[in-house]
């Protein structure tokens, strides 16, 4: 018995030691954004089912930033092949990639994602504008030419058309890619920059002052994902939550969606560019791994195929807003041509 344990332990140690020189990796490895994760999962699964000669790619979640960091660790078997991201790769991230030897990065845009405001299904209809959101959720507002702490406590103080509800908004936390879109497309868009400047804020500080969210408990940062936001709305029936369009569509029997600028969010209105709060979704591929990791090239081509990202595809059914035809063709051409960042 004791001898058996010793032998087995020795075997495990030997296995651990030999793994460093293990055979070549035969599986695509992907990491990154939790927004892109569901789409990547659908593609990975279909890929595994269609191409029986390749293994199903492994998709890790963990966030756009974490995925890109892992992606930029270098080239080779121990590093991932694809990073999913719900935002464009930043300049300094690309630089860190290049510094680590990942010189050729191919960017692929897969489509668009909408961000919606939703309340409990039994609540009244909501029609929001970016200005309403700014006035309700900004840290400081300009009142009589001076910047003061946000005095609004009820939605109908912001806009008389909104219900008499205490302001309680559940917005994505700062580590989310969604937060950036929220700040840029709603807070900054709803903010009267000239008035803020007139109130004595320096030129460079204006945007920062505009996107600062109030910290008095009326706007709650959600660091988990949309399931948590949904639970908050369940608990507080007069709360307003920020969701991805796909999540809302999967839970439309529990949530009522608000219009923004008079436009109802849907895949159609986002594709037409009418609904203002949307963002492109990306993934990044290591060119050095193409042709080395089996299935990587096929995976990317399969992802870009119209049967995956087209308007009548499983991804569109899940909630992805397909890019216009010309743009999808452009992505395919760029990838085939090996265009790098």
């Amino acid at each position: 018995m004791k001898k058996a344990i010793l032998t087995a332990s020795a075997a495990v140690l030997a296995l651990a030691a030999s793994a460093g020189i293990a055979a070549a990796r035969d599986q695509v490895q992907i990491a990154g954004s939790s927004t892109v994760l569901p789409y990547a999962k659908i593609v990975a699964e279909s890929f595994g089912e269609t191409f029986t000669e390749f293994k199903t790619p492994v998709v890790e979640s963990g966030g756009s930033g974490a995925g890109i960091k892992e992606f930029c660790k270098g080239v080779g078997e121990a590093t991932i092949d694809v990073a999913n991201s719900s935002r464009k790769m930043k300049e300094d991230e690309l630089k860190s990639c290049v510094d680590a030897g990942v010189k050729d990065v191919q960017e692929v845009k897969i489509g668009y994602d909408g961000i919606v405001f939703a309340t409990d299904i039994k609540g009244p209809d909501w029609a929001l504008t970016p200005a309403d959101i700014y006035k309700a959720l900004a840290a400081q507002l300009v009142v009589d030419g001076k910047l003061v702490a946000n005095p609004n406590t009820k939605w109908n103080q912001v806009n008389p058309a909104l219900p008499d509800w205490d302001i309680a908004a559940y917005i994505p936390g700062e580590k989310h890619g969604t937060r950036e879109v929220f700040e840029e497309k709603l807070m900054a868009a709803g903010c009267d920059k000239d008035a803020v400047k007139a109130a004595g804020v320096g030129e460079k500080e204006v945007t920062k002052a505009c996107v600062a969210v109030r910290k008095d408990g009326k706007a709650v940062d959600i660091d988990g994902d949309y399931t948590e936001t949904l639970a908050r709305i369940d608990a507080n029936k007069t709360g307003v939550g920020v969701f991805g369009l796909a999540f809302y569509e999967n839970n439309a029997d529990k949530l009522k969606v608000a219009t923004v600028g008079g436009v109802v969010p849907s895949t159609e209105t986002i594709a037409k560019g009418e609904y203002p709060v949307s963002r492109p979704l990306f993934f990044y591929v290591k060119k050095a791994h193409l042709g080395v990791v089996p299935g990587l090239k096929e995976y990317v081509e399969f992802f870009l195929d119209d049967q995956m990202v087209g308007p009548e595809s499983p991804l569109a059914e899940y909630g992805l807003v397909a890019a216009p035809d010309a743009e999808r063709q452009q992505q395919r051409d760029d990838f085939a041509a090996g265009k790098t960042m």
Binding site: V12, A16, A19, Q27, A252, D253
Partner: protein, 437 residues
């Protein structure tokens, strides 16, 4: 003079001292009540947790299926009759259409009735593609025949069948249309739609479709990791504790080691994950997401627990046993291995199993080494990508689809059963082999 029999002075009972008897009784009664209240609060929390998990999760063990007479039509599978020369047509064929046509026939819908046919979309799980393909690939001679096959209904139909979708809300706001509810009721009344035991939950890998997703990969991954933890942590931990407890002289160095081991036992598990990422993946170049790396990280995490439990078990063996062995001429090593260690075994095993149970429930350290991932294929060796039971629960908790909620609770039930079995084993071992002095 009367007999000088002095009357004894009546003995005065001493003034009753206040020894606070009443107060002490009251305090005792109060304390007992505190204890009862504390236990009831604990039991209530446990009951609430179990009831909420079981009530949400028990439905996940049944999965709605439809019995369809599927005609393996050569015109659909292999329209150009090329299968003899090119076997890949059998893999790429449009199997979902076979199931759709069979469903339409079963419901009496004509293929020309476009609106009705459109409503059939999303009724049958897309997992039927692999199910039927595997049947055809295994036995191509079934092409051209008709077989009765139980196929899975889609997750939305499954949720509606189980009553988890509120059919009272407007049709546009739910994932199941009124037509589909009609089909569903018709099939149920005809007895060809029923909940079947959900084997897939235990054997399937991860999937983006709730109805075909399962914990197979997670169970295998957890099994590999537990095996690695057991094979590494037990011998290393026991050897370290025997040396520290029985052989090492008490010096400043052993004191420092002891303090460090106790500290390590309290270090948050995510720290071990960071260590694993830096050492095993970045330095040693082991593969990401592999059960081997997970097992090594959990070994590091479990070692202090095992060392502490083993040392306590060794220390509980009375010194007389050692003295007697030494007195009869046994060497120190013989005394330890032939007398002390067997007596300490129940304690060591209990500590090991509790350490393993803790390792089984860990997610945080696995996040950093890439095991929180979508893995569809079975890991054949510990070097292949895998996930773990608690990771699967976490992944399902983050899904948007309603049907994943019950799967998450179902997975929690499975994990709890595993933990319960391990803890009961620990108790049984202790009861059977424990020696009292």
């Amino acid at each position: 003079m009367t007999a000088a029999v002095g009357t004894l002075p009546v003995a005065q009972a001493p003034a009753r001292r206040d020894i606070g008897l009443k107060r002490r009784y009251a305090a005792e009664t109060r304390f007992r009540w505190y204890g009862r209240v504390a236990i009831s609060i604990g039991v209530i929390f446990l009951a609430v947790m179990l009831i909420s998990i079981v009530s949400k999760g028990y439905t996940s063990f049944m999965q709605t299926s439809v019995l369809l007479p599927i005609t393996f039509d050569a015109k659909v599978i292999d329209p150009q009759d090329k299968r003899a020369t090119d076997p890949s047509v059998l893999i790429k064929a449009n199997y979902p259409n076979l199931a759709r046509d069979a469903l339409a026939a079963r419901l009496g819908i004509s293929p020309d009735d476009k609106p009705q046919m459109a409503a059939l979309k999303g009724f049958i799980s897309d997992g039927v593609r692999t199910q039927l393909r595997d049947m055809v690939v295994a036995d191509p001679s079934i092409i051209g025949t008709t077989r009765d096959v139980w196929v899975l209904a889609s997750a939305n139909i499954d949720s509606a069948y189980k009553g988890q979708i509120d059919l009272g809300v407007a049709e546009t706001n739910r994932k199941v249309s009124d037509k589909q509810v009609g089909f569903m009721n018709k099939l149920r009344d005809e007895g060809v739609m029923a909940g079947k035991f959900n084997t897939g939950l235990f054997v399937n890998g991860a999937s983006s479709r709730p109805e075909t997703s399962g914990m197979g990969v997670a169970i295998i991954g957890s099994f590999y990791m537990m095996l690695i933890v057991l094979l590494l942590a037990l011998p290393i931990g026991v050897a370290a504790s025997i040396y520290l407890e029985e052989f090492a002289k008490k010096t400043r160095l052993t004191d420092i080691i002891e303090v460090n081991i106790n500290n390590l036992a309290a270090v948050p598990s995510i720290v071990f994950g960071l260590l694993g990422l830096a050492v095993f993946i970045n330095f040693l170049g082991l593969p990401r997401s592999a059960a081997l790396v997970g097992g090594l990280v959990l070994t590091l995490m479990t070692l202090p627990t095992i060392i502490i439990a083993t040392r306590a078990a060794l220390a509980a063996v009375p010194p007389s046993i050692r003295s007697a062995a030494l007195g009869l001429g046994a060497s120190k090593t013989q005394a330890v291995f032939q007398h002390v260690l067997p007596l300490a075994t129940p304690g060591i095993l209990t500590g090991t199993i509790i350490g393993l149970a803790r390792a089984l429930g860990e997610t945080a350290p696995l996040l950093l080494i890439g095991m929180v991932a979508f893995v569809a294929d079975y890991p054949t060796t510990p070097l292949d990508p895998a996930t773990a039971l608690p990771v699967q629960i976490y992944m399902w908790a983050n899904e948007a689809e309603r049907a994943f909620v019950e799967r998450m609770s179902g997975a929690i039930i499975i994990l709890l059963v595993f933990l319960m079995v391990m803890n009961i084993t620990a108790i049984v071992l202790r009861r059977r082999f424990e020696r009292r002095w």
